[in-house]
């Protein structure tokens, strides 16, 4: 018996070296992403910080990097955000309510709808640009306008909003619905007055995160002609550009100064995204209920 115990004791440390190596690999896995993220941020801020000034915010683009600003691009991005909120959010939340509260799961068309949304969430963004190019810009003859860009980005993030909305609605406990039904409420009264208010913080958080994804998209906007010289403030039915497109345009210029200016514009974009994400997290912490 004693020998067995000693044997077991001696056996153990041998198992520990691979265990430590494995843990080192796991820590490295986590570190790789964080190190690159840190490097990227330090690099971009180091290059571009001096270029974030009044010229960048308030002046139109120019062939001279010293005079070039991103005013039309920043305004374009803000307009896109406004339009996205106006039509993607109602449709996305409506779809989420339909799937969670109304759709019968045993019907084939509802299952198809679900797979369809999951698949759309993973379609490459440039393919949405193709859709915009073929139907909105050329087919409908809308032209290369801001509204077309908003439509495309809206369809692009619709699945994300639906998925976030469904999760928030699903988190509302069934007992709340049952209680309202027991008091004689109709289905829409239950959904509209009980479920939606309870799910609102979750929906808002998911929506803001989806919007921040849309704001950073470049490829679909390139497809519908956002890469263009726009010296004036954008209008909904006019030519436009957006912040990520402006960053792309400056990055590919041969002059070194334009690359620094691009870093300045990246700082503006990242701060905007950071603010949106911080707001989403604040919303979640402030209003999230635990049942």
């Amino acid at each position: 018996m004693k020998e067995v115990v000693i044997e077991l004791r001696e056996g153990r440390p041998r198992g520990r070296v691979p265990g430590r190596l494995f843990l080192a690999y796991l820590l490295l896995s986590v570190a790789v992403g964080l190190v690159l993220l840190g490097w990227l941020l330090v690099d971009v801020v180091g290059r571009g910080f001096a270029w974030v000034d009044a010229t960048l915010f308030f002046d139109p683009p120019s062939a001279d990097p010293q005079l070039a600003g991103a005013r039309p691009a920043i305004l374009g991005t803000l307009y896109l955000m406004g339009l996205l909120v106006a039509f993607t959010v109602p449709i996305g939340v409506g779809t989420a309510i339909y799937l969670e509260e109304y759709a019968r799961k045993d019907r084939w068309y509802n299952r198809l709808l679900e797979v369809n949304i999951q698949n759309l969430a993973a379609v490459p963004s440039i393919v949405y640009g193709i859709l915009g190019l073929a139907f909105l810009v050329r087919g409908l003859g809308l032209g290369e306008v801001l509204l077309a860009g908003a439509f495309i980005l809206g369809l692009l993030v619709l699945p994300t909003i639906v998925i976030a909305g469904r999760e928030a609605i699903r988190a509302v406990p069934g007992s709340i619905r049952d209680g309202a039904y027991a008091l004689g409420a109709t289905q829409w009264q239950v959904v509209g007055r009980q479920v939606l208010p309870a799910a609102a913080p979750g929906i808002a958080t998911g929506t803001i995160l989806a919007l921040s994804r849309a704001i950073g998209e470049t490829a679909p906007l390139l497809m519908i002609g956002a890469l263009t010289y726009v010296p004036f403030d954008p209008t909904i039915l006019g030519e436009f550009t957006a912040l990520p497109v402006q960053i792309y345009n400056w990055t590919r210029q041969p002059q070194e100064d334009f690359k620094l200016l691009a870093a300045g514009a990246i700082i503006v974009l990242l701060v905007l995204l950071l603010a949106m994400n911080a707001f989403a997290i604040w919303l979640r912490n402030r209003y999230q209920k635990r049942w």
Binding site: V32, L37, L99, L120, A122, T218, L222, Y248
Partner: protein
């Protein structure tokens, strides 16, 4: 006593109809995408033999005489995807195991959102970083990379995809019942054995799904390759050379003012159809795999 409602409420039906209409928008999107891709593609294949397109090894649609062999674009795409997967597959899995099996709840709560930030940085920013910082860094290490190269774009893209792989894999690992782990510990396993012989095999369909999704993302990613991998359709797997991916070709060609109905215009759609078909198949596979692990334990 009559409990059944006497008066029909029309409003209820209207609401349901309106909500169903919202749901139809996403169906219309899919139909729209397929329709948008098919029509010009069919016209394209009237002019170019589909077999020549799929097997041709020279891609020069804008030259005289034009060549429409898609192989160099596919090679370029696969080359970048390979390097992206070479980074995201091992490190994404490692991060998932750490978060699911090793990290304390407190560490997890900080680390998980921090990793998610990687997925929230716009791709144009990664493209900028790959071109302006990472490629010169590789050169300073003595690697003979061209200014535009598949390697730099692939590595940076791989880091971007780490959270994609990690979060889906971690979901699958969290779904593995605690009883399986406890059983293995009771038999004298250490954490390494429990992680590698119990949790990873039990979660394997979710892990594979996350890899498939990462490949699909890498194939469809545009801005990083457009900025950092170049626009030179070369039939090479040499990672230090410039390549052109399918997405980079689409984006670069559409930037010019291409006349509707011209062969250039149709080429964009034919390549996009190829891209869409590839990613569509991978997405379906991934959705199917995720269903599989959910069914087993729920």
């Amino acid at each position: 006593m009559q409990l059944a409602r006497r008066r029909r409420r029309w409003g209820e039906g209207v609401v349901k109809g309106a909500l169903a209409l919202c749901a139809l928008v996403s169906v219309a999107t899919t139909v729209g995408i397929v329709a948008a891709l098919l029509e010009p593609s069919i016209e394209f294949f009237r002019e170019v033999n589909p077999l020549d397109y799929l097997t041709g090894t020279e891609w020069a649609p804008l030259f005289e005489p034009a060549h429409f062999g898609v192989v160099p674009l596919v090679v370029g795409t696969l080359s970048v995807t390979f390097w992206a997967l070479a980074v995201s597959a091992p490190f994404g899995l490692g991060a998932a195991i750490f978060l699911s099996e090793y990290a304390s709840p407190r560490v997890r709560k900080v680390l998980k959102p921090a990793l998610e930030v990687l997925a929230g940085v716009p791709t144009v920013v990664y493209g900028y970083f790959a071109l302006v910082t990472f490629t010169p860094f590789l050169r300073s290490l003595g690697l003979e990379v061209e200014i535009f190269n598949a390697f730099s774009a692939g590595i940076v893209m791989g880091v971007m995809l780490i959270p994609t792989v990690a979060s889906l894999s971690e979901d699958a690992m969290t779904a593995v019942p605690q009883a399986l782990r406890d059983g293995a510990y009771a038999l004298g396993s250490d954490k390494l054995k429990v992680s590698l012989r119990i949790v990873v095999p039990a979660a394997v369909s979710g892990i594979v799904a996350s890899y498939v999704l990462a490949v699909s993302r890498a194939i469809g990613e545009t801005m990083i390759v457009l900025l950092a991998a170049g626009q030179l359709a070369q039939n090479t797997f040499d990672p230090f050379k410039a390549v052109e991916t399918m997405t980079a070709f689409i984006a670069a060609t559409a930037q010019g003012d291409v006349p509707t109905g011209s062969i250039e215009y149709k080429t964009i759609f034919a390549v996009a159809l190829t891209l869409f078909t590839l990613t569509f198949l991978m997405n379906l596979l991934s959705i199917r795999l995720v269903r599989k692990y959910r069914e087993v334990y729920e």
